[in-house]
Symmetry: C2
Subunit: 329 residues, 2 copies
């Protein structure tokens, strides 16, 4: 492997000072035009690429953006990561993705590593709250929280999803269809979003004059497995005739359990998912769901990355509306 081409090696090759090379490559005016072109040509020839580490060490910033997600197999996160990656591609940014698996230890570790590389910003879907003294030290990090919100040191912006109306309307819709035993599976109080989704569900019940049946409401740490198992409980106990899901992982988990119960049961239980994976429309005649504005989310996140116009637009807290999508016969 040939030694790395540096600004100095080019200078030596050309018998000039490395400063002239530096200036030429950065289009500084004070370089003779012919010389500049010659230098640039030679650099291209040699396959020169600037050394990001050297630039970073000078305090020039890193062009590195961190992205912390619970996982990337869930289509919601995958699509979001895809959108972010494309946006970063377009802005010549590096996107470092760390998966937290909703584990605060992994989250802490990821943040620490991103401090090491001096990421210019970190976009993160926070894991469910940990005890206060376990707060990850994100000092020096420009943190932007997505979808979920938690008290995190260094947070400069937050983009949340306002799903209150969508969840509320989902319950009302089910009630109008004649359902009286409407279940809910969502995240617990460790997450403010979990709390709010449950509140929205309850608001829906109130609107329709239904009273809450504790046996039909399940909350916990949001995961695929949790959605699966809660769905099982829901069927075994006082059986619900309808279900509203309050989380993307939960929704997929519950749906997988539903599908395994056979095609018939899907018609007996009105299912309203959360997030809108591409295949929901094809399942059991179409799965109704609460759709999240993925592209808008990515767009807002990118906007918050830019230094300008951040505080300008106010507090740095944005909310994007979810949308109820009804499907089926």
């Amino acid at each position: 492997m040939t030694k790395r081409v540096t600004i100095k090696s080019i200078a030596q090759d050309l018998g000039i000072s490395h400063m002239t090379v530096s200036r030429a490559l950065s289009d500084h005016p004070n370089v003779h035009k012919d010389k500049r072109e010659a230098i640039k040509a030679r650099a291209r020839e040699l396959g020169y690429v600037p050394n990001a580490a050297a630039k970073a060490m000078r305090g020039d910033g890193t062009k590195i953006v961190g992205l912390l997600l619970p996982n990337i197999t869930n289509e919601f996160y995958a699509r979001f990561a895809n959108a972010m990656a494309l946006a970063c591609e377009a802005n010549s940014l590096h996107l470092i993705i760390h998966l937290t698996n909703d584990d605060s230890a992994l989250e802490r570790q990821a943040l620490e590593r991103l401090r090491e590389v001096q990421a210019m910003a970190v976009l993160m879907v926070p894991t469910p709250a940990t005890s206060p003294h376990e707060q990850p030290s994100a000092s020096g990090l420009n943190v932007i929280q997505l979808v979920r919100q938690r008290a995190i040191d260094g947070t400069s912006g937050t983009v949340l999803i306002d799903d209150h109306k969508a969840i509320h309307d989902a319950v009302v819709h089910l009630a109008q269809q004649g359902h009286r035993a409407i279940g809910f599976i969502g995240a617990n109080n460790n997450l403010s979003s979990g709390k709010q989704r449950l509140a929205a569900f309850r608001a829906g019940l109130t609107t329709t004059g239904l009273s809450e049946d504790a046996a039909l409401v399940h909350t916990g740490s949001p995961s695929f497995e949790m959605g699966r198992s809660c769905f099982g409980k829901l069927l075994k106990g006082k059986s619900a005739t309808a279900l509203v899901c309050g989380g993307v992982e939960i929704s997929n988990g519950a749906l997988s359990a539903l599908m395994e119960h056979g095609p018939g049961s899907a018609k007996q239980l009105a299912f309203i998912g959360y997030g809108d994976p591409s295949y929901y429309r094809w399942l059991a005649g179409g799965i109704s769901t609460i759709r999240l504005p993925i592209d808008a989310l990515a767009q807002e996140a990118m906007a918050l990355l830019q230094p300008n116009g951040d505080a300008a637009k106010g507090s740095g807290l944005r909310k994007l509306n979810a949308e109820l999508v009804l499907r089926g016969p």
Copy 2:
């Protein structure tokens, strides 16, 4: 924002030489034990994290692994990326994901950026071949190719999928079911894997004594849209009674077209997909498919990242078998 905590600032804070701090933090023996502990404690207190850029500049390596994928919305790539990200998490590596969208210009750009940050290795699913003079300069990069193979400078390892038997068997299975008009949609010759999949399809036809009908075979640059549109052509022209897909994007695209044709058509056309998204089992009574060994792929890729045992095991070319999964009534 407080200034960054460095080895020097700690030294100053403690009134000692920065070298002692350096030694203490890296557990060098030549430091008085009490002093070492004191230094470590203070460093933790101050929230010290080593500066990756400085380490990189000394030539100590970067712990950065690049991953180039066409996209990450396709469940196959998403699951693979997920597996790689978890593996990197476990090994304290940074995973930088670049999406190429199967565009060689984006691929070239991504490789250049990874050279800038001196990635220790790059795992890539190469885009379809470009003209030779457009070869991306990956010099100095430790490239590992995945799934697809192309002549790329700096390649130190390749992990491919051997799907010959699976595709061949798929055709034989369809023939045994009585199908005589079996279609195929796959990648074109720009990709060696495309060529081989078509060859496997033809081998299947030969085995069963069927002759190839050019109108039923479509190849091109593999993408969701391509799969969709070719599926349309297949239905309009001499209509096939069965279809074998030769690519993950193509499979999803073709399937989406199939689903839109209504639930009935799925039973008229025997569909064999490629890749095994979680929902295939739930569609139209179960979609048969060629399943790819995602976890094994990630495992092999990780193994190739480790410097040891690379050349030891031979040429650095591994092949993993795909598997035909039959579903449906």
